[in-house]
């Protein structure tokens, strides 16, 4: 099946072609570029499935396609010069991610027919072109075989995100949100870039895999006890790893760089589903998984990842509780869920993290598209307090949305339960040994309750009770192009958990953990990029409750499930009534804090206005007065010196002769004194 890999570049190039087609011919095409996009993403999906099959048959694809710069300078550890290349790496992880991305992209393209085309939007060719460009960049990011290429496409998806958030650029809020998203993620990417440079300069390579990968070099440096840039190897690996993590935190909307994501909901809901829930935001987490071997070398970096993840999971979940806008709830839940993934990766649960990434992609895309459907139903109303009673009027939307909600809340047997449970299990077995991980676990566990609560608050407010507005009384119809993706994703949300039924497998001693086997290279893969290999690198010690794996599993599952149910139950009690009322008053002072998102934006604005701006002003004043003064002074002194100096050219040739002789005698004196000629 190796010959399939010949087509690997086409996975990304097809959407690129769609981008060009939509941009150039979009206006003339029947669906303004949608058709091109659908065909391209369908092609990408088909090819990605082929890749998946090829990897399943035991093949791995790792090839450099283009070398665009080669440096002579050797790295700190590598003897050879560094080479900057474009290459493709298709292993179990990237093959899986390619399928996820192209599938969601295809579904979103189809959904857009109903959401964008049917609503008579303007600028559709631009929309589809940007969507194509995004898909291209995201897919290329996924199969990138080196960190620099990954960085470049990471930036490109950021650009597409900016363009798409600002799609309705004539409104006031969309451009502002786009700018915010761009700036905040760019702030993280800045650290990422520094990290890329640092890694390249240290190890002389940026490749993810192969003998000369920077992971292998780092491991060798660690084993050799080398000193890198004045630090011992582990500290330096931690520093560079954390620099790269800056980009991850920005892109995956982790605390404290998460503030852009809720604002990004200004973009079309389809875009929110594709970019700001299922794929681009996943890029950060995916990057950690991609270079997991590197992080595995640094327990401190992993602990930070785990703690940030756990904290973000809880933090964002609390904020989601008080939101009125359906998309806002989903936005905060997205942040929270990516927190779980980070937690999973941080505690060494590579499989758990990737598993949740996959499940989340399905159910969150489903929820966003469901929200999109609701928004269509509601004539573009997003406030949940104006909805209600949609259950009977739009059953397809309701049941698929419910499937997504159950998965999100982590109710057995929906997919979200399995992956979240696995993350929490991986966390608790570490937490029993270490306080940091215990704290991270506790936050993750507590977030389960909030997740259950806000999820069902959203469901009940939207679909249950009595209609609370005219629009809810008489919803707009929705077409097949909206329903079909919902159904596909609904089914996936229900069954995707089958991929890795770890608790069941462990309790019944069945070999049904397919994803774990997949990522462990059982079907094929690069030896140094497997779960088992990472597991051996991790220095963690684990403990089990009562010394028994079964007990620990059951306790962990019971805890999280119990919390999820109690959260959902509370929501049911409060909001599953015909005329629900706001209960946020009961939160007292906490309500304002939560509504204001813990004053995060205020803090950041204060940082900009209260700290950066005065510093900038001071620098500006320094520049205006001191620097410019010196510069102007130098120039006027020079010009004055010039007008004085040129006067020695008097125009009288006898003066010239005299000056010439005088200069000559001066030179003679200098040399003569030096050389002792006059003695």
């Amino acid at each position: 099946m190796e010959e399939f890999f010949t087509y690997a570049p086409a996975i990304a190039l097809l959407p690129l072609a769609a981008f060009v087609v939509a941009l150039v011919f979009g206006d003339a095409m029947p669906k303004k570029g949608a058709i091109a996009g659908i065909f391209a993403t369908a092609g990408s999906l088909g090819l990605s499935l082929l890749m998946l099959a090829a990897v399943a048959s035991g093949e791995v694809h790792h090839e450099t396609y283009y070398e665009w710069a080669v440096g002579d300078t050797a790295g700190h550890t590598a003897a050879e010069g560094i080479a900057f290349t474009f290459g493709i790496l298709i292993d179990p992880l990237s093959a899986l991610m390619l399928v996820i991305v192209s599938l969601i992209a295809l579904l979103v393209h189809v959904f857009s027919l109903g959401y964008m085309n049917a609503e008579g939007e303007k600028g559709l060719p631009r929309y589809y072109a940007e969507l194509g460009l995004f898909t291209f960049s995201m897919l290329a990011f996924v199969f990138a075989d080196n960190l620099l290429m990954a960085f470049m496409f990471f930036e490109l998806v950021g650009l597409c995100s900016y363009l798409l958030i600002g799609f309705w650029f004539r409104t006031k809020s969309a451009p502002s949100a786009a700018k915010k998203a761009f700036l905040v993620t760019r702030f993280g990417d800045y650290f990422f870039l520094v990290g890329v440079v640092a890694i390249g300069a240290t190890f002389g390579t940026l490749a993810f895999a192969g003998d000369g990968s920077f992971v292998a070099e780092a491991e060798a440096a660690l084993d050799g006890g080398e000193t890198l840039f004045g630090f011992d190897a582990e500290t330096w690996i931690t520093i560079t790893g954390l620099l790269v993590l800056g980009g991850v935190i920005g892109k995956s909307a982790q605390f404290p760089l998460h503030t852009w994501l809720p604002d990004a909901m200004e973009g079309p809901t389809t875009v929110s589903a594709l970019i700001h829930a299922a794929t681009m935001v996943a890029a950060g987490v995916y990057l950690v998984a991609r270079m997991f071997g590197y992080y595995a070398l640094s327990p401190s970096a992993l602990a930070i990842i785990a703690f940030v993840g756990g904290f973000t999971a809880l933090f964002a979940a609390t904020m989601a509780v008080v939101k009125d806008d359906i998309k806002q709830v989903l936005a905060y839940s997205t942040i929270s869920q990516y927190g779980y993934m980070m937690l999973g990766l941080g505690v060494g649960g590579y499989v758990a993290g990737v598993f949740h990434l996959m499940n989340h992609a399905f159910f969150k895309a489903l929820l966003f598209l469901g929200a999109g459907a609701v928004i269509i139903l509601m004539h573009h109303e997003q406030d949940m307090w104006k909805m209600g009673g949609l259950k009977n009027k739009a059953p397809v939307t309701y049941y698929t949305f419910l499937a997504g909600a159950l998965a999100l809340a982590g109710i057995i047997p929906f997919s979200g339960f399995w992956s979240k449970d696995e993350i929490l299990y991986d966390a608790i077995i570490l937490g029993l040994e270490s306080n940091v991980f215990l704290a991270a676990y506790a936050m993750g566990l507590l977030a389960v309750f909030f997740t259950g609560f806000y999820t069902f608050r959203m469901v009940f407010l939207t679909f249950h009770g009595e209609p609370r507005s005219d629009a809810a009384e008489d919803p707009h119809g929705i077409g097949w192009s909206v329903k079909a993706p919902l159904v596909v994703l609904g089914v996936l949300s229900l069954v995707a958990g089958v991929a890795n039924l770890a608790p069941v497998g462990k309790l019944l001693d069945l070999d049904i953990m397919f994803l774990e086997g997949w990522l462990d290279g059982e079907y094929g893969g690069l030896e140094e990029l497997t779960y088992g290999f990472y597991g051996d690198m991790l220095p963690y010690e684990t403990a089990l409750i009562g010394g028994s794996e079964e007990t620990t599993l059951l306790v962990a599952a019971a805890l999280s499930l119990g919390l999820a149910f109690s959260g959902a139950g509370l929501a049911w009690k409060l909001y599953n009534v015909p005329e629900p009322t706001e209960h946020t008053q009961r939160l007292g002072g906490a309500r304002d804090v939560l509504r204001s998102n813990y004053y995060q934006d205020e803090v950041q604005v204060w940082l900009a206005e209260g700290v950066t701006l005065p510093v900038a002003r001071a620098a500006d004043r320094f520049d205006q007065t001191v620097i410019d003064g010196v510069v102007n002074g130098v120039s006027s002194v020079s010009l004055f010196g010039s007008s004085w100096l040129k006067r020695i050219q008097t125009g009288l040739v006898t003066n010239y002769a005299a000056l010439l002789v005088a200069g000559f005698i001066g030179l003679l004196l200098v040399l003569g004194v030096y050389g002792g000629w006059f003695l």
């Binding site: 006067r647 050219q649 125009g651 009288l652 040739v653 006898t654 002769a657 002789v661």
Partner: protein, 100 residues
């Protein structure tokens, strides 16, 4: 016995006289003559050193110098001629339009 030092002193004196003339004379012809003195100072050196070192390179070169000096004077006189025609004077300080 007249030693090499005497020749050097003579030539240096001649050179300095020439240099003095160059620095003080404003007449272009005098300027030129002073330069000739300096060249001849060099010629004295060359001939004396040729004798001293016992090879005739210096003497031959002195002949070259004399010839080149003549050529230089020819050019110089030409320039002085057009100088006179343009400025009605052979004072080298008169043409001083271009300065600074």
């Amino acid at each position: 016995m007249i030693g090499i030092e005497h020749y050097i002193v003579l030539s240096m004196a001649l050179f300095c006289i020439g240099l003095f003339g160059v620095l003080t004379r404003r007449n272009a012809l005098m300027f030129l003559m002073s330069v000739e003195l300096m060249l001849n100072a060099a010629n004295i050196n060359l001939v004396a050193f040729a004798f001293y070192h016992g090879n005739i390179t210096g003497q031959i070169f002195a002949l070259f110098t004399i010839a080149l000096a003549a050529a230089e004077v020819a050019i110089g006189l030409g320039i002085i001629l057009v100088l006179y025609r343009n400025f009605r004077d052979v004072d080298v300080t008169v043409p001083s339009q271009m300065r600074w």
